[in-house]
């Protein structure tokens, strides 16, 4: 088990490394700090001096090294070219709202998915089963931002029950989190349902039933625990997708999180911030994947060595 953890840690570090290289290169070739930060009257000499100042005339690898060192040892992502304050400040402020949104959304999604998934597996062909199937179908085809806009229109404009932007109170959290929850809900429901179905038809469950164990006892003890494993793994792995969905949701609802920050920064070309956000989001995704992998191996010892 310990070896497995070490292996996964190394792997995660490797992935983080690759991502840092990719994001560095991508932005290196697209960024144009000179035109952003210097006044329009700057001439070639000014630009050259400016670039030397920022260390942009050095070889690529050296720049990468410096950049990486600054981030790892000092947490310094550079200054925002737009706001002129450290990018890490902007990121720090935006971090919690995103985490908040993602966590609440995931909780909602899981809380809805588990009962519905279990019920639809246990009572096949019932109304519940059909409703679940319907939700899965619709949910997977639903463009996230359209759903957000529709919810805004219905609840915010027509019914005027809920606010549509801003983040002052918990009420503001409702629409965005429901929107985001609908993003992962279909997959979670499908997983719970198929996990339950697979286990319920297994021989050892039928043996337990034959021995007279009551139905709900069987359900809870045997079936659910085994069906939960894929749910755990996928939740962790879905975290990346969840963050992606957060980007969309935050944009639609003007929720002050990392997603909105990223989008706005990309649109204006504020690359230090973009890099910082990309690294932060990727970092969380990697951590979530790691936790899911280790968690799954802990629950199911067979996973440990492929």
């Amino acid at each position: 088990m310990r070896n497995y953890i070490i292996y996964k840690l190394l792997h995660a570090l490797g992935v983080a490394f690759v991502i840092s290289i990719v994001s560095f290169i991508l932005l290196f070739y697209t960024a144009d700090p000179a035109s952003m930060l210097l006044p329009e009257t700057a001439d070639a000499a000014d630009i050259a001096a400016f670039e030397k100042d920022l260390g942009l005339d050095q070889p690529l690898v050296v720049q990468y090294g410096n950049w990486l060192a600054r981030i790892v040892f000092e947490g310094d992502f550079g200054n925002s070219w737009v706001a002129k304050i450290p990018a890490s400040d902007l990121i720090g402020v935006a971090l919690w709202p995103t985490l908040q949104l993602a966590l609440i959304a995931q909780i909602i999604a899981t809380a809805v998915a588990i009962p519905l998934g279990v019920l639809s597996a246990v009572k096949r062909y019932s109304i519940i089963d059909n409703i679940t199937t319907f939700i899965v179908l619709v949910g997977q085809a639903m463009p996230l931002f359209w759903l957000g806009i529709m919810l805004m229109i219905v609840f915010g404009v027509f019914l005027k029950w809920l606010p549509t932007s801003g983040s002052d109170t918990w009420v503001h959290l409702i629409l965005p989190s429901i929107t985001l929850a609908s993003f992962t809900l279909p997959l979670n429901m499908r997983l719970v349902r198929s996990g339950m179905l697979e286990v319920l038809s297994k021989d050892y469950v039928r043996t337990a039933r034959a021995k007279g164990v009551t139905r709900s006892a069987v359900l809870m003890k045997h079936a659910f625990r085994n069906a939960a494993i894929p749910l755990v793994t996928v939740t962790g792995m879905q975290f990346g997708a969840l963050l992606g969905g957060a980007v969309v949701t935050e944009t639609v609802f003007s929720w002050p999180g990392l997603g909105r920050l990223a989008v706005e920064s990309i649109q204006v070309g504020d690359f230090p911030v973009v890099q910082g956000v990309v690294l932060t989001l990727s970092g969380f995704t990697i951590l979530a994947n790691l936790a899911a992998d280790i968690g799954a191996a802990w629950i199911d010892p067979r996973i440990r060595f492929n």
């Binding site: 997977q140 038809s201 649109q267």
Partner: protein, 304 residues
């Protein structure tokens, strides 16, 4: 309809009540109906895209400022000239939606094509030859999957500039890991099959084995995945356009129309709702067809 795959037979053995024949039949009919429905939707989508000029009522770019913000004909205030009303520049919403289908479908198909070519080639190489190639590809796939897709696509579009070709490239380059991963796993499974061993023992070249024996068995799962990815690509393109990073005005992209209509949400709600509904229907249709394909292939593959 032989959708009773062995999996669904399994599923029923745990029930301690007998679901009535009616409810079983209803569910199967429902599944069949959904498949047909999906097919119809996709057909409408495809035909609109191809025959846009015949199906649309107006030129999507033509502006009629005097008639701007006309409601759809089924609402009060709507006329008969503009079936779904007009947007803020007086352009016919219906025609723009029809032409938008062409854009969405083109981008969706092309982007998936790009992803598939890259992903399948890498997956085949990794799964068949194993060893170092496999280690590298597997690692790359995992690394790219950790990257938030949206941001990757967005950054690429910025880097390349916002145009239809560049969106296709950006979406295609961001999504190949999905195909690579599936191809790799399936290839590894197929490689162990005896008919591959038989082909080796007959002195057939690796290239031939990969392209004829393995690829022919990959077509089915890849097709299923491709349909899902086409729907996702369409949705992603609309999001990029929504952010202004995609198709540029005045070309009618559904995402762009959603963005443009956002400012008028309070009163002119149909400007955003209707294009969004089109996106939803397109994605739904494609997903349903994908599900139907999956059910279709499953029992067949089990037989073989």
């Amino acid at each position: 309809m032989n959708n009773m795959s062995s999996e669904s037979k399994l599923e029923e053995t745990h029930l301690d009540y007998k679901p009535s024949m009616t409810s079983i039949v209803l569910k199967r009919m429902w599944q069949l109906r959904m498949g047909v429905f999906g097919f119809v939707l996709v057909l409408v989508l495809g035909l609109s895209a191809i025959f846009a000029s015949q199906v649309a009522t107006h030129d999507p770019l033509e502006q009629d400022i005097l008639a701007r913000l006309t409601p759809p004909s089924f609402l009060e205030g709507g006329g008969s000239t503009y079936f779904l009303g007009t947007d803020q520049l007086g352009r016919d919403l219906y025609s723009r939606i029809i032409y938008g289908a062409r854009i969405s479908l083109t981008i969706g198909l092309s982007a998936v094509l790009v992803s598939m070519v890259i992903g399948v080639l890498l997956g085949l190489a990794a799964g068949y030859f194993g060893g170092k190639i496999d280690a590298v590809v597997d690692f790359l796939v995992n690394a790219m999957l950790a990257f938030p897709f949206i941001l990757l696509a967005m950054t690429l579009v910025i880097a390349l500039g916002a145009s239809m070709e560049n969106i296709i490239i950006a979406l295609g380059l961001s999504n190949w890991p999905i195909f690579a991963r599936v191809t790799r796993i399936e290839t590894m499974k197929l490689r162990e099959q005896e008919f591959v061993l038989a082909a080796v023992s007959q002195g057939l070249s690796h290239v031939r084995i990969i392209l004829k024996h393995i690829l022919s068995n990959l077509a089915a799962p890849l097709l299923v995945i491709a349909t899902v990815e086409i729907a996702r690509a369409i949705i992603r393109e609309t999001f990029l356009s929504f952010l202004g990073l995609g198709i540029q005005a005045p070309t009618p992209s559904w995402g762009l129309m959603l963005a443009e209509g956002r400012d008028y949400m309070l009163t002119i709600w149909w400007l955003s709702t209707l294009p969004g509904f089109a996106i939803f229907l397109a994605a739904l249709g494609i997903n349903l067809v994908g599900d139907a394909l999956r059910d279709l292939f499953d029992p067949h593959m089990r037989k073989g």
